[in-house]
């Protein structure tokens, strides 16, 4: 179970990151679109999202592992 969570979380992060990178590689102009009537571009929003998401998912993983998986492991150890 630990393995499944670890790998699926990794894939999720890699998916977001490589989508970001591939857009930069293939369609950079897509990131130049302005959001609403501000000067913030789609690229900046997505970029900041990737950062915030990375922090968020490390929090989720640590929370699940430290509160649930560790208890199961303790039982297995016994």
């Amino acid at each position: 179970m630990n393995k499944i969570i670890a790998f699926s979380f990794s894939l999720l992060v890699l998916f977001f990151y490589f989508s970001f990178i591939l857009i930069i590689g293939f369609k950079p102009e897509l990131f130049g679109i302005l959001v609403g009537d501000s000067y913030i571009t789609v690229g900046i929003v997505i970029g900041l999202f990737v950062i915030v998401f990375s922090i968020f998912i490390t929090f989720v993983y640590t929370f699940i592992s430290n509160n649930y998986l560790d208890k199961i492991k303790d039982q297995l150890n016994k």
Binding site: N2, I5, A6, F7, F9, S10, V13, L14, Y17, F18, F20, I21, L22, I24, G25, F26, P28, E29, F31, G32, L34, S38, Y39, I40, T41, G43, I44, G47, L48, V50, I51, V52, S54, I55, I57, T58, F59, Y61, T62, S65, N66, D70, K73, L76, N77
Partner: protein
Amino acid sequence: MILFLAFFSLFPFPVFSSTGQSNYFAAIIFLIFVIITLLITYFASKKTNVKENYYAAGGKISGFQNGLAIAGDYMSAASFLGISGLVFYSGFDGLIYSIGFLVGWPIILFLISERLKNLGKFTFADITSIRLEQSKIRILSSIGTLVTITLYLIAQMVGAGSLIQILFGLNYEIAVWIVGLLMIIYVSFGGMIATTWVQIIKAFLLIFGASVLAFLVFKEFSFSLSNLLYEAVSVHESKMEILFPGKLISDPISAISLGIALILGTAGLPHILMRFFTVPDAKSARISALYATTFIGYFYILTFVIGFGAIVFLSQNPLYLDDTGKLLGSNNMAAIHLSHSIGGEIFLGFISAVAFATILAVVSGLTLAGASAIGRDLFVYVIKKGKANEKEELKVSKFSSVFIGLLAIFLGIFFEGQNVAFMVGLAFAVAASTNFPILFLTISWKNLTTNGAYYGGLIGLVATITLVVLGPTIWVEVFGFQNAIFPYKYPAIFTVSISFIAIFVISISDKKTNKFENLEKFNKLTRKAYLGKL
């Protein structure tokens, strides 16, 4: 203690030949930092006669403290000054680097951190040698470690020399010597305990300084990102182009390749990996990765704001520009000049001192990682075949730290004035193509054999160095040839594949290894990796 006093008498106050108020203030802050860290080193030195304390701070660092220390190791002067400078120069492109540097962290947490803690003691070779043949795998791991940290050290030392030269008006060589000698003292006397605390203090100062700087920028635009970007666009010569990806990465292969180098490279940096041995258990290892990710992510958002702030406040201000309209000192000085423009002399002094402390802390971590590779992996397990006592081991490690420190000083002076920025990239590429594949396959692939890891890892190492030398960064920019033999600036997509394929093919065709025994060792390792016990 005598050495400490001798050191102080070598560099008394007048060394900082201050020309302005800011230099004077910076010198005072920096001296306070040095005095505090030397005191810590002195107290730490009473404990570093034990292996556990010297290499891993006795496993007594808490998750939060270690998270700060890791963030400190990672937020080098190169990333603070370099990324804000890159944003100043080309806007959005700086964000591509930041994000690449950051997303390695969740991956380290999910796949590596707790297993590292459960399996290893002091170096990452401790893990690979659980199931693979000691001497071969230790040789390979130490080569990987030493190549990575040497490249990284050169880049940091050269950066340190020129930065301190500009900030404090010190001679380049003296600056390199100060950094080198201080780091030798921290590492050889204080080991991991001192190195960790130096790192924690510096990380705190850096996050604080960058926060204030970004806050001051934001305040000018009534806390509106849109206003900041609007002003930046109206003064930058590339106009709207600074808001989306541009000149830095021009094709998909480079984009993916850079991404791979940054993510997998982070997971293969020896001075970062060894930090996970300083906490008591797997739980704190996870917490350290969580805090590290949070601090680093927050820090990169700050550098983005600082870079755009620098565009607005510096690019039209003749005070910070030379005759050709370029930023004084280079684009890397963007954050430093901004601190002066927006916060005045005293704040400039503070940020300068923080930059100096940053360099010092990062080189210390690198030196310790190198010293452990020589003292533990090479001396104890390769030369002495595991039969050295603790005293001998520590003696060799401590002497190695002095040796690496002197080597760093020498190389720093040798490479003066040269463009060494590519060395950090090369260090990441080597870490991604050698250290990471061996470590990752050791904990996750049951058919890995010693020969597969050894020869495959070496092939990955050689391929990386070859492709970087033949690529545009060295062949064209350093050697001055017209066209690069290998067209891509970032070779990781190729070298990581070469390394994985080589390890795979050699392991599969390795007839000498006893398959049954190998599998049994792997099962044992997996159990320990997850449960923390055999």
